[in-house]
């Protein structure tokens, strides 16, 4: 069937900010959908609040609404745009839920809008646990036995028939938020309450545990002609019990015979048909009893998912793009396969390699969080690796994570030794726990269990990981033993060593790991390897296992005989990507890499991308001319550089990951273009940086470097408390803390970090109540242009990534802005920046202090580009390729008339027990943008985009520290004028009363009940203003913040945030927030 001509205008819903469970895979899918539908001539309207996405670039849709993804906003856009259809299946659970709401509240019908991709009944049947269970019953498929509960009493009733362990799954939540596994009644009671609370429909499913069963996923596509194909099968290494997003997964399925696999295939097709997903991609999850093969259906997602992104990258089959085309009526047999050109999308990809996905966690950011892996997703990103065997693929995935692991480093032994001492009892217990309780380090401990000589059966009994995976790991360790035993061969560097080395490389061993085993340096291993001619080749990902010729240059490395790289002799530039998403380095950097690639392509330069993050647009095979899906380590990058021989390599776009490689790459003779690695080092190295500031006569908060506790005490004394302390060379403010006095310093120095001569601690004077300013600038060596100057809403001391910010600045003097501009120009020229740079300043009493200089693309580049309409990353890429700013016509700063607010989004709800207070350590996973012509509405939009429900009326609770009291008076008064009731704790109340505010007093938690926490729980509070000082007060007010979070009450913990929220509420009370596409602002 050809495409539909009865629809012309299609609204695509995006996924909003990056959160745990919903990351940049939905930018990838959304971008593909926008491109595919525009290509077909449809008018595309887009809604997405996330400015860091490629899809929200003004040229990917005809009208781009960077507005909150909420039913209200969607309705307003529908009203304004009158689209013919809404496509909700490419923006994750957020898009699907939002679409369901506008379908159910009659909006779609009212405006005659059709839901395409999936119809409402299909979505409901897939998402509603009861309906799904009934549907599975109709087609004769088993699901784990289960029951639903809508309140505590029902939950207690259901558990009687299910028993323990029981799995709790709240309905309609993403990434399993609020779910978990209960092993006893006590845990169950707590989880049931939390789960009901987390579900937008107050519903939980309590399920028979199939923990320890094998887990599989199938990615399925269906078209309007009822053609159904399986794109990819995925097997989870971690058995049932760990959320699939947190599991190590492998494609294709490894441990099923064809007869067993076909059962899954038949079941998936039946499910597609029964649920009634008319077109597009879906994902079905199965559990299989390893003893008898009994199959249960776990769930199905009637939309493109994280697994579809993985499946797309794993097979080369672009699921989202095809899903978009199917949604407008094409059938699979009408859509050509881009990779083979000759064949069609109506087939099932077959692969001739093994793909491993390894999740990336950031528990170090949330020390109070429980790091046990359960059915609630906790990882923030993932790396994917491709190898010809599982062993190769698995070891490549380890070094792709960028956690300073290059293989199976030992946790419990000195693995450079040939034999290991027996495990202590303590370590033996630890090992047992680490194997039996899923945790992100389990694989490394598993390796130690083999090193300790534990038997396969013992390890299987503890982990329930299929023996096939275990034996593969065992074989890697046997190879490790062989390598160690043959250390003596290294000196001779003969043929025997060559063969051993080749065998080791075929097992996926990295040079770094070999260096460790042989007590050599990485460079020595590399030289040895090259001397012996042990070099990788590059194979193509082609969807068809070489049955047809592949035209898409999508590569992975392997140690085989034939290389299919076929590099061209064009002028080419390699862009190094950012690797797996993590807090502090996410989609913003992928955005920059993609823009770099687009810009260079415009200039006729061949672009080559290296990255290992399957969620991203950068790893789409048609983003760059050539794609290498490889780990971002020195070894892997050098191998590609040696084959491609590029004109230049760009290291400043992928965040800290490629930047860390810059010096080593340059030493190896790789042409780094843009800012020189030496300049990067001048900005990163503390002492060289100080010299630079001295030379330019720029001001910095007083500071010092401590290599012991005593030194730190002296420095802190000298510069005066409060001080900011942090280890040197950190990303995203790792282990950074504001220290107010000696006792806290002592605790920090002893518990948080151990200062030593190799690991010095940096101590800075903390500028209390200063305004922080972020600048992104462009420089070509001659001209410097401000990309954007952003004023933070939260005061200095809160990590810039966690702070809301405004462009242009809303309260800085012109003279201050001029001074910031002047300093930026001086720094850029002195460092010789070629490309982008980011500077953070603090302004106090009109004085400008330099906090930090990053001679690279920053997290704010996409936001600034959206706000100003100037594609900074593109301009900078062209600068790096030698096209000056003047030649590009970029010589003036752009200061937009509209106001753009960026707000951060946090994962606290996923981590019970974690405080929500912000500090110098970055904790946010994503961001949203609010745009309007005034600050109030722009801030309000940013809040709604971030999921904060700002009230227009009701009760505000105020409890602030003494020094803040006078500052909150004005915003509180405003709210009173707007009709808000005020409740406050005693101290705050007496201050407000003394200033004439009518206040009701409420108990602090320790003052007895009913307390403020009770008031929040009984939904008497609509807004919380709470600032604290000192460790005790922080502990006291913890339960307030946690309760507001669980009950989704808007809360602000800084004076600046309080003021801004009052302005926003005022704007909301004045008028309905309007919606306006980006294209109209620019």
């Amino acid at each position: 069937m050809p495409k539909r001509t009865d629809i012309k205008k299609i609204l695509i819903i995006g996924a909003g900010p990056i959160i745990i469970g919903q990351a940049c895979e939905f930018d990838y899918s959304g971008t593909q959908a926008c491109k595919a539908l525009k290509e077909e001539g449809y008018e595309v309207i887009l809604l997405n609040s996330n400015p860091a996405t490629i899809m929200t670039d003004p040229d990917f849709a005809d009208r781009t609404y960077v507005e909150p993804v909420t039913p209200e906003v969607l309705r307003r856009i529908i009203e304004k745009e009158r689209p013919d259809a809404v496509l909700p299946t490419l923006g994750g659970q957020t898009a699907l839920n939002t679409a369901v709401e506008v379908a159910e509240n009659g909006t779609l019908e009212e405006f005659g809008v059709e839901l395409i991709g999936a119809k409402l009944p299909a979505i409901k049947m897939a998402e509603d646990r009861t309906l799904f269970k009934q549907a599975m019953g109709r087609i004769g498929l088993d699901v784990p036995s289960s029951g639903l509960a809508h309140n505590f009493e029902e939950a207690m009733e259901v558990i009687k028939s299910i028993g323990f362990p029981a799995i709790i799954r709240p309905s309609f939540t993403l990434g399993g938020t609020g779910g978990g596994i209960a092993y006893n009644l006590e845990e169950y009671e707590e989880m049931a309450i939390k789960g009901i609370d987390a579900s937008p429909t107050d519903e939980i499913l309590i399920e028979e545990s199939v923990i320890g069963w094998k887990e599989f996923e199938l990615e399925v596509m269906r078209d309007t002609a009822d053609n159904v194909v399986i794109i990819c099968s995925i097997e989870n290494l971690d058995p049932m019990g760990v959320h699939t997003g947190d599991s190590i997964t492998v494609a294709p399925a490894q441990t099923l015979t064809d007869k067993e696999y076909q059962i899954l295939r038949d079941a998936s097709i039946k499910i597609m048909r029964e649920i009634g997903v008319e077109t597009g991609g879906s994902n079905v999850q199965f559990g299989i009893n390893p003893d008898n093969g009994r199959l249960v259906v776990i769930e199905m997602n009637p939309r493109v998912s994280r697994s579809s992104a993985l499946a797309s990258k794993a097979t080369g089959f672009p699921i989202a793009k095809i899903a978009a085309k199917l949604a407008v009526g094409y059938t699979l047999d009408e859509i050509p396969n881009d990779i083979t050109r000759e064949t069609y999308a109506s087939f099932e990809p077959t692969i001739d390699y093994v793909v491993t996905k390894f999740p990336r966690f950031t528990f170090e950011k949330f020390p109070q969080a429980d790091a046990t892996l359960t059915t609630q997703m906790k990882s923030v990103g993932e790396a994917m690796a491709i190898g010809r065997t599982f062993k190769e693929s698995l070891q490549k995935s380890l070094r792709s994570l960028e956690i300073d692991s290059y293989g199976f480093e030992s946790r419990l032994f000195d693995d450079s030794q040939e034999s290991f001492a027996a495990l202590t009892d303590e370590n033996s217990t630890l090992l047992r726990t680490k194997l039996s309780q899923p945790n992100w380090e389990r694989l490394w401990y598993l390796a130690d269990a083999f090193r300790a000589g534990w038997s396969l059966d013992e390890i299987f009994a503890l982990t329930k990981i299929d023996r096939w995976f275990l034996i593969n790991i065992q074989q890697i360790l046997e190879m490790e033993k062989t390598l160690r035993a043959n250390r003596s061969l290294v000196a001779g560097a003969g043929e025997e060593l060559g063969e051993l080395l080749r065998e080791a490389k075929r097992f996926g061993f990295s040079d770094r790991r070999l260096a460790r085993l042989w007590s050599l340096t990485e460079g020595e291993v590399r030289k040895l390897r090259k001397d012996l001619g042990v070099l990788p080749v590059f194979k193509r990902v082609d969807t068809c296992a070489a049955e047809f010729e592949a035209f898409t240059p999508y590569f992975y490395s392997s140690y085989e005989t034939e290389c299919e790289s076929a590099p061209t002799d064009r002028k080419k530039i390699i862009i190094l990507g950012g690797g797996p998403n993590r807090i502090g380095q996410g989609i913003e950097f992928d955005y920059c890499c993609v823009h770099g690639s687009f810009a260079l392509a415009e200039e006729g330069i061949e672009t080559i991308m290296i990255n290992c993050n399957p969620e991203t647009v950068s790893t789409d095979y048609d983003t760059s001319d050539r794609l290498y899906f490889e780990p971002l380590t020195l070894e892997d990058v050098l191998s590609i550089v040696e084959i491609e021989k590029p004109f230049g390599v760009i290291v400043q776009y992928g965040g800290q990951t490629p930047l860390k490689l810059a010096v080593a790459l340059e030493e190896a003779g790789v042409p780094i273009i843009g800012t020189s690695p030496d300049a990067i080092d001048r900005a990163e190295d503390r002492e060289r940086f100080q010299a630079l500031l001295h030379k330019l006569d720029l001001k910095q908060p007083a500071n010092g470097i401590a290599r012991s506790f005593e030194e730190s005490e002296n420095i802190a004394q000298k510069i005066g408390y409060p001080v900011v302390v942090r280890p040197s060379y950190v990303l995203g403010g790792r282990a950074m803390e504001i220290v107010y006095g000696q006792a806290q310093l002592k605790r920090y120095m002893h518990t948080a970090v151990m200062a030593s001569p190799e690991h010095p601690i940096l101590i800075d004077k903390f500028l209390d109540e200063a305004i922080e300013v972020d600048v992104d600038a462009l420089c070509d060596g001659k001209t410097v242009v401000m990309g954007g100057i952003m004023q933070h809403i939260e005061e200095a001391g809160i990590h810039s990534g966690d702070s809301a910010c405004v462009l242009p600045p809303f309260s800085l003097e012109q003279s201050t802005i001029a001074e910031i501009r002047r300093q930026t120009v001086e720094l850029a020229m002195e460092l010789g920046v070629i490309g982008l740079m980011n500077i953070q300043y603090a302004v106090r009493e009109g004085e400008v202090y330099l906090i930090e200089v990053n001679p690279r693309a920053s997290r704010t580049v996409p936001f600034v580009s959206k706000a100003t309409g100037r594609p900074l990353a593109k301009v900078a890429a062209k600068v790096m390729a030698g096209i000056s700013l003047e030649q590009q016509g970029v010589t003036e700063d752009i200061i937009p008339k509209h106001i753009s607010v960026k707000e951060a989004v946090f994962p606290f709800v996923k981590f019970p027990g974690v405080d929500t207070l912000l500090g110098p350590e970055m904790k946010s996973t994503g961001e949203v943008m609010g745009i309007d012509y005034e600050f109030g509405p722009a801030f309000a939009k940013a809040q709604f985009g971030a999921g904060v429900r700002l009230p227009k009326s009701g009760t505000v609770f105020v409890s602030v520290k003494d020094s803040d009291k006078e500052h909150v008076l004005q915003p509180v008064n405003r709210l009173v004028e707007l009709g808000f009731k005020v409740v406050a704790t005693r101290g705050t109340a007496s201050y407000l009363q003394s200033r004439g505010v009518e206040v009701e007093i409420v108990n602090k938690v320790k003052e007895g009940r009913p307390s403020i926490v009770d008031a929040i729980k009984s939904e008497q509070i609509n807004l919380v203003f709470n600032t604290t000082f000192g460790a005790d007060a922080v502990t006291d007010s913890y339960s307030i913040r946690r309760t507001t979070l669980m009950f989704n009450v808007a809360y602000f913990t800084t004076v600046a945030g309080i003021k801004a929220s009052a302005q926003a509420i005022e704007a909301m009370c004045r008028e309905t927030l309007d919606v306006c596409p980006l294209q109209e602002y620019l």
């Binding site: 294709p252 007869k259 000759e342 068809c544």
Partner: protein
């Protein structure tokens, strides 16, 4: 593991290791793109005379079990994989792939760059190769390969067909209960199945649909078949070139119109030849479980395939209707006689291994027999 060499007739050589049996063997080198189902592939008689390379690199993961067989033993000449796995993990597994090959005296070759081999075959066509653990002289191996005739023009069926007729009662497989036991007493149709190298799953499907099946040797005459008074005649899959099998073509011609006929794979090619059509050798064939086939009525089915020869579409225009084509290369996938009750498909609706999308064809055969019986009575 012993060193082993694969040498192709065009002089290309691959050095690897052997698993399974050792020795020296020749065969036409082909590749299969299925990611699962190696045991069914090993035991499919259609691979007789072929050295089969699996494109998926990890083979042997689930071992070998007693159930997943398509005939009594492996028929292929040799088996080539990237990594041969010897410690199977699956609740049904009974022995490792290597032991199985060794027991059946089949040479396995592993640790070669199978993708390079597949690309070579794709570019240069399927050709004769030799695998040896005995001879390390590559020149001499290439010579031996050159001297070995390919499958074209050979009657390979004689190597795999049964020697005596037999009855078949086992039905299709099910996870809980294994293979169904059918009762031939209750069979509604009598089917004679020509064994050109038949896969058991075809017989299982027929049995489960209520057929009393008599399997007969490839050379059984039309008169002998008619003497059994069947409701329908089935033409099985099998190895090699259909062209030299004149005896089979002759018998089919005699049966046409007298009994409903259903042919699969080689059986399909033989039916086409019997109808006056032509067959030709494909460059490297279709072997795998992901081949898209379009029913001319619309729907696309994902099919399991295993053939090196195909029917020339233009040779059939007079006698048969084209019912199915391959979406990738437009080759003939299904035919139906314009007036007589006979139809055939190039691919494998019995799957095993592969997707089950085309199972409806067995029901179509039943329907054809039913209608034919009704027309005879009426």
């Amino acid at each position: 593991m012993k060193k082993a060499i694969l040498a192709l007739a065009d002089g290309t050589v691959f050095h690897g290791k052997s698993f399974g049996a050792t020795g020296e063997v020749t065969g036409e080198v082909v590749f299969n793109t299925s990611m699962s189902g190696y045991q069914e592939i090993l035991t499919d008689p259609s691979y007789c005379g072929e050295i089969v390379t699996m494109t998926y690199p990890q083979i042997g993961n689930t071992g070998i079990n007693a159930e997943d067989v398509e005939s009594g033993k492996p028929h292929l000449s040799a088996f080539v994989v990237r990594e041969a796995w010897d410690m199977p993990s699956n609740w049904r597994s009974e022995m490792s792939l290597g032991s199985y090959l060794e027991q059946n005296n089949i040479i396995g070759l592993c640790d070669i760059d199978t993708r390079a081999l597949v690309r070579h075959i794709r570019t240069h066509g399927a050709q004769v190769g030799i695998i040896s653990t005995l001879d390390a002289d590559t020149q001499s191996l290439v010579e031996k390969a050159r001297k070995t005739p390919g499958l074209k023009g050979q009657d390979t069926v004689q190597k795999v067909t049964c020697s005596e007729p037999y009855h078949w009662t086992e039905g299709v497989w099910n996870l809980e209960t294994g293979y169904e036991k059918t009762n031939p007493e209750q069979a509604r149709f009598r089917v004679v199945a020509y064994d050109f190298g038949i896969k058991r799953n075809i017989l299982r499907h027929l049995a489960s649909l209520g057929c009393h099946v008599t399997v007969v040797p490839a050379t059984t005459t039309a008169q002998q078949v008619l003497a059994l008074n069947p409701d329908g005649v089935f033409l099985s899959n099998g190895p090699g070139d259909p062209e030299p099998l004149h005896y089979a073509q002759e018998n089919i011609r005699k049966l046409l119109g007298k009994k409903p006929i259903f042919g699969i794979c080689l059986g399909h090619q033989l039916l086409a030849l019997a109808l006056g059509g032509k067959t030709y050798k494909l460059k490297f064939g279709h072997r795998g479980g992901n081949q898209p086939v379009r029913q001319l009525s619309g729907r696309v089915e994902i099919t399991s395939q295993n053939h090196g020869f195909a029917v020339a579409a233009d040779s059939m225009e007079d006698s048969a209707l084209l019912t199915h084509i391959n979406l990738n290369d437009n080759t003939v996938e299904g035919l139906e006689h314009k007036s007589l009750p006979a139809f055939s498909v190039q691919y494998h609706p019995e799957a095993s291994p592969g997707p089950h999308d085309a199972r409806y064809l067995f029901a179509r055969f039943i329907e054809l027999m039913e209608n034919f019986r009704a027309s005879q009575q009426g």
